[in-house]
Symmetry: C2
Subunit: 142 residues, 2 copies
């Protein structure tokens, strides 16, 4: 999660919503790193999780990331939660919960609504991730 938080800080420095994500292989190798790039890429789907899952698929040469884990600094939105399920991620670790935009423990609870899906572990590094987001949005309003 330390690595994902470093990516989130980098996103903030670039004017992107500070979210970072890391895909880890079954053997513990880091397969893919990404931060939010929606504005930079002019891409509504360029959330950190989507970019990390895409990069991991390209690196492994398969769209099915069986046995891989995803670490992300914010509870995934419904789009990203759906992608986590499609990618066959084994364990999802996230830091800050997102009661408004989240899709895992909040809102449509995308992963819970199906019979399968990853194990989910929330709240790891939550205060740092939430602090980054609060500072970012306070800066936008300031």
């Amino acid at each position: 999660m330390r690595l994902a938080l470093a990516l989130a800080r980098r996103a903030a420095r670039r004017g992107e919503v500070p979210v970072g994500a890391v895909v880890v292989a079954p053997d513990g190798r880091v397969l893919a790193l990404a931060h939010n790039r929606v504005e930079t890429d002019r891409d509504p789907t360029a959330h950190a999780e989507i970019l990390a899952l895409r990069a991991a698929g390209a690196r492994l040469g398969t769209p099915r990331l069986v046995g891989c884990d995803l670490w992300t600094t914010l509870e995934p939105c419904p789009m990203c939660a759906g992608a986590v399920g499609l990618a066959r991620i084994r364990r999802l670790y996230f830091a800050a919960a997102d009661p408004k935009g989240g899709g895992v423990e909040h809102g449509p609870r995308v992963l819970a609504s199906r019979g399968h899906g990853p194990e989910v572990y929330g709240g790891i590094g939550e205060s740092e991730a939430a602090g980054l987001l609060r500072a970012f949005f306070a800066g936008l309003r300031g």
Copy 2:
């Protein structure tokens, strides 16, 4: 929808699940065309809708496709439904319903769970789209 169905047929010829999607600008121009490319691209997120939304964002130079419509041959899954919401799509038109994997009228009903979201019109060209999918999966099993 005719164009989206032609893209779905092309996907089937390439061994991809036959789904096609088209983004149309407020003035009726076709902005982006895509079909499913999950296997070809080794990308778990490469559904037709995601690819079309990404291409439309790149073409318009913004991640917010305000006033644009999305036409797709299958009810979007939760990932794609989430992306449709994030992209600020105005109207979502789809052909075949997907009681098992859909995320708009079925499953987590991603768009209905929030206060905002596009107008949704299902069932346009449904029999042709459903026939393509049935033939594709029958071929896989055959």
